[in-house]
Amino acid sequence: MSMTTKLLEGTGGWLDDRFHGARGVRTLFRKIFPDHWTFLLGEIALYSFIILLLTGTFLTFFFQPSMTEVVYHGSYTHLDGVRMSEAYASTLNISFDVRGGLLMRQIHHWAADLFVAAIMAHMLRIFFTGAYRKPREVNWLIGLALLTLSLFEGLFGYSLPDDLLSGTGLRITEGVLLSVPIVGTYLSYFLFGGPYPGNLIIPRLYIIHVLLLPGIFLALITAHLFIMFHQKHTQMPGKGRTNTNVVGAPTYPYFMAKTGAFFFFTFAAVALASTFAQINPIWLYGPYTPVGISAGSQPDFYMGFLEGSLRMMPSWTWDAWGHTVMWNVFIPAFIPLGLIFTGAALWPFLEQWITGDRSEHHVNDRPRNAPTRTALGMAAVTFYGILWLEGANDVIADHLDISLYLTTEIARYAIFIGPVVAYIVTKRICLGLQRKDMHLLEHGVETGIIRQLPSGEYVEDTRPVDEDALAVLEARQPPPSLPVGASAAGADDVPPPGMRGGLGRVRERLNEVLTESVPMDGHGNGYGNGHGNGHGDGHAGPGRAAISSGGSEQAEGTAEGQEDGPD
């Protein structure tokens, strides 16, 4: 027995004597994590959070969250003699007088952007693959809460240096608070401790940014990971992967090593960006004053959609009975955010109600196999995207050399038309891809080899889809069926509970839309029954190989014909 083994056994024994961990930890070691590149998106978010904690702690050692005015006489001589808050002066100090301070600041800022971006990408993956379905609805909601909080955490964080750009962001925050009907003025006065800007906002945002929100983040992330761990990760469809198993590599040593490497990759990427790509050079903006502003003031990317929303809105206000309602600010500041977040929060439950599907799902959907969900997701992405682009409309107008006002006019229409177009186009694409999959399943892969038969007929050789691809193609589940509703049942029949009355009819109609898919032709029990070219069953039976081109065309025609038929 080698020295190392002895040492390990000694330590292990010592620990097990005290914590009784041998069995549990062994189970942990052999826990299976499935693999797919999109599963790394959430890991990026987690690792950027760790980077944020590390670099943020470093920054707190030097940052002064104070709005006391000082006259600067530091290393950055361009601002010598300028009056500024201690917060701004200490940020200059971190940048120019603390070794590695600028690097830490830039890593912190880049990691914050990456954190939000990774959460967004992660949530899109979850949505489009249906990974939020039962039993993972709670984790979906926790994720949504994390995304919401991350926007605030980011806004508060970049406001702390009290530079001209971030101060302008706070000014907009004040305007947005003022727009809240009835209590807006009070909200603003309570947040700023009086009239804007006051001298309390930076210390208040600071404690929220470094203590309150990170604490909530830690709690929610822990819950998020624990639930994921307990419920076991979803897996992508593939050979041998079912709803009752998890296929992948064990935690120890594989997942541990991979995820450790990935942490270092994430850190390296952020460090590289911070080395070569300058971010938030606050010394160029100057200290905050409500008098000044720089052209092209733009927030960090995750606030861009709010900026665009504010820019896009027409100037509607109501003056009545001695009060003013600022629709021009209140609507763009709260409605898009509300639509996206409320919609995302309700969707898993709405989908369950519409489909009546109460079963557990552990194998992810391919987006094409849930055309309506995918189309809705793309409509939301388009909605968000147009808001976001409008947030940079001055840059767009400048680069495309078109009128600034034209970009806003276009955006005012596009915000309504764009999502509808995205919905229709996405749904058509999904159905088309389903049809392509059906074609592959029924006729195999076209090889491009043309053979002449003794009869003189030309046929193209096809070969069966290989097993791995086949497993993916076959993963599509037939849409679950609702209990028969009022319209389908006879006039004398009483519809089952949940399908009665107006709500029942709405549910039935929504179900039709939501489950719209290319018919599966009785796929569960044999292939291509409808087109029956002698390839009745058998996953990779040789019968599936050769199909005459005539038959192929005919099959195509049949599939087209069924396109708009009832499911």
């Binding site: 006065y189 309570f190 050979k239 998890v246 296929v247 080395t275 100037s315 557990e360």
Partner: protein
């Protein structure tokens, strides 16, 4: 890291097999079986597996040797970069822009290389030195057995009864009554976060006779100081040039037009696309600089069109026509500050703005 590619030439005899099985493994074990048992193991028989589940050896030792050297090289590179980081910290001074740039480059680059070396090394290690393996673990339904649920419900009910919570409504109600004020108390505690707004949003610090100072230089202005009409000058109230709270509301702009450009309304007419005539001096008009949308400074001025533009959300105001809104989300013109000249000929305010400046608010009316 998505290295779950299926190795070529594996036997597919497990095809169509229902239930747990080893999907891919190199080399395959003596027989397919699950990792953590098929459920019987859950009960806790505690028996350790007799067989090895992960292959210990690599199929191609020569290839593994090459990978090993590469990984070791990367780890060494990382170590060198880590030492470089410390050296850069010790050796490179900061305290000037150029020095900071050098320091940032050296520290950032060495840190990046150190992490990249570790990351790439570990990845190659996993992919080329650890035997490729893919195992299957069973899932079990998340819901508990009906008996367990039943037992839980009984235990819960028992506890509730034992606590007397269900039997003694007096206790229950008084407990709830006691918590209500305690929940409200923290909200009440927040009251002193700030003063009540009162009418403070309706006023600025401008008073009759207060001089307009150019922002930055802090000098008073005579109408004659405008050598020619054109640009826009930011002005602040004398005595408040360093008071950010005052400036957040009182900051204003003055523009001098060519004669005949301004469109005057009737005296006393405040709104409606006109400049109030008796509030100007010598073709000079003064407006609030705080945008009526959400309060950014409306800082851009286009001399040819006389448009004032707010860079935040692009509200555009027509300067010769009482700063009425031409485009964008701002709902009201920029309020006009009545100005005149004092005995020494300097521009002064006639008084405060006649309406609230900046963004609207609920009580504005």
């Amino acid at each position: 890291m998505s290295d779950t590619g299926v190795p070529e030439g594996l036997p597919h005899e497990t095809e169509g097999h229902a239930g747990p099985h080893r999907v891919i493994g190199t080399p395959p074990p003596a027989q397919a079986r699950t990792l953590l048992g098929d459920g019987s193991d859950r009960a806790g028989d505690g028996a350790l597996p007799a067989q090895r589940e992960l292959p210990a050896d690599l199929p191609d030792p020569a290839r593994a040797k090459r990978a090993e050297r590469l990984v070791a090289g990367l780890f060494l590179l990382s170590m060198v970069a880590g030492i470089g980081f410390i050296a850069a910290y010790v050796g490179l001074e900061v305290h000037s822009v150029d020095a900071v740039l050098r320091s940032n480059l050296a520290l950032g680059l060495s840190m990046s290389v150190a992490f990249l070396g570790l990351a790439a090394g570990a990845t190659i290690w996993v992919r080329h030195l650890m035997p490729n393996v893919e195992l299957t673990e069973q899932r079990h339904p998340l819901h508990s057995d009906p008996e367990d649920r039943q037992a839980f419900a009984e235990t819960f009910a028992e506890g509730a009864e034992a606590s007397q919570f269900t039997k003694r409504p007096l206790l229950r109600r008084t407990l709830i009554a006691a918590t209500v004020p305690l929940v409200a108390a923290p909200v009440v505690l927040l009251r002193d976060l700030g003063p009540l707004p009162g009418t403070s949003l309706r006023h600025t610090v401008w008073r009759k006779g207060m001089r307009l100072l150019t922002y930055g230089a802090n000098t008073p202005i005579r109408p004659g100081d405008f050598s020619s009409p054109g640009g826009m000058i930011t002005v602040v109230p004398d005595g408040y040039q360093d008071n950010l709270n005052a400036l957040a509301a009182a900051t204003a702009i003055i523009i001098k037009f060519q004669p005949g450009v301004m469109v005057f309304g009737k005296p006393g007419q405040v709104r409606g696309g006109y400049v109030t005539p008796n509030w100007t001096v010598d073709n000079i008009v003064c407006y609030s600089k705080i945008c009526t949308h959400v309060g950014c400074p409306a800082a851009l001025y286009e001399q040819t069109t006389h448009h004032i533009l707010c860079p935040c959300h692009q509200s555009t105001f027509d300067a010769p026509r009482g700063a009425q809104v031409l485009f964008g989300p701002a709902p009201r013109p920029l309020p006009q500050l009545p100005i005149t000249t004092d005995a020494e000929g300097y521009l002064v305010a006639q008084g405060d703005f006649h309406e609230p400046v900046g963004p609207s608010f609920w009580e504005r009316g």
